[in-house]
Symmetry: C2
Subunit: 211 residues, 2 copies
């Protein structure tokens, strides 16, 4: 039993063959991406490579962006597990602010590891382009803020703003070459530290020094 605690996909009432095809398509998509990059993953190409029909691809994922959203949710499951039942400070057991800081670090790593997928996932969306309507990040941050109780008029709004502060840089502000191998680690580290500074200030935690 390793089904995620929060149902991320509509995998629930799916027929057996449909589920099998979904998994196979995701694998094929990952392979195509690894080989040629995200921009070269086309619907026809994916259908052909997987040996399935184009209609099937669209039924499963709705749109091109939907494939990348599914891919992202799939990767996100690992992070989700670590957050919900892994060891502290990311998982339960640590103080809320520690968990918040740890979550930021984990999320930055996640986004940098998967930035190509993440950016491809926000193409074209009519409605909310981000993963789910209330992403994992926002829910978790909200929960921790409810424990920390920072002095703001609306904790839900703060959760949304912090989610954006965490995801926004990688998703819409950074250049592609900020993800280039050379700069990658330094940029990551800067944003991890920055997140720590930011939530430290918001949660009135000033004892940790910085250089």
């Amino acid at each position: 039993m390793d089904r995620p605690v929060v149902q991320v996909s509509k995998a629930g009432g799916e027929r057996a063959d449909a589920a099998r095809n979904r998994a196979h398509l995701l694998d094929t998509a990952r392979a195509l991406m690894a080989e040629h990059g995200a921009t070269k993953v086309t619907m026809d190409g994916l259908a052909a490579s997987s040996g399935l029909g184009k209609g099937t691809v669209f039924r499963r994922f709705g749109s091109r962006a939907g494939i990348f959203r599914a891919l992202l949710e799939d990767e996100e499951t690992k992070l989700q597990q670590a957050v919900l039942s892994g060891p502290p400070p990311l998982g339960p057991g640590a103080a809320p602010l520690e968990r918040l800081i740890a979550y930021g670090a984990a999320r930055v790593d996640f986004l940098f590891d998967n930035y190509e997928i993440a950016r491809a996932a926000l193409d074209g969306g009519q409605s909310a382009p981000m993963g789910a309507q209330t992403p994992l990040s926002r829910i978790h941050i909200r929960m921790l803020l409810d424990l920390i109780k920072p002095p703001v008029s609306d904790r839900g709004v703060l959760a949304t703003q912090l989610t954006a502060a965490l995801d926004g840089p990688a998703l819409l502000l950074l250049h592609v070459d900020d993800f280039a191998d050379a700069k990658n680690d330094q940029v990551r580290a800067k944003f991890v530290q920055g997140w720590s500074d930011l939530v430290g200030l918001v949660c009135r935690h000033t004892s940790t020094g910085h250089g």
Copy 2:
């Protein structure tokens, strides 16, 4: 003399006919959007409606998203003027924190007023999907943070995170129906207040903090 202080487009070395066509295309695009909504603005349609060739449309704007980026930059010029030379607290003259709070309010209004354009603008971008590589928001926030000197290890990172906290909700987290006429004003107000709370906390100097 109403040329923007910061050159937002490559309007500089453009031939006269090119500049004329650019302006005409933007007007036509605005008209099409007002009539049928952003999703119905097609490159063929825009070319036909403007009486120009499709090649021209692509040469001018590079891609579909490019049209919306140009439209957004055009609108943003007004905000830019108010920030650079308008009356305080948005313009120069007020205390930095006041200006920062006022900027947030103005930016939220701008994004809510132009959210359809703004979302259409972030389609498909290979590189940084947002307007310019270093958007107005980030530059201005960075400048104000340099005056306020909040106790963080990297002010550039904080500027990026606050820019994301300001733009992210409207661009990637809110549902479309949060922009529906009924909820619109309340949601705006919540985010304006939230921004004020957020930067208030970030910029509050503590006794132990450094200058």
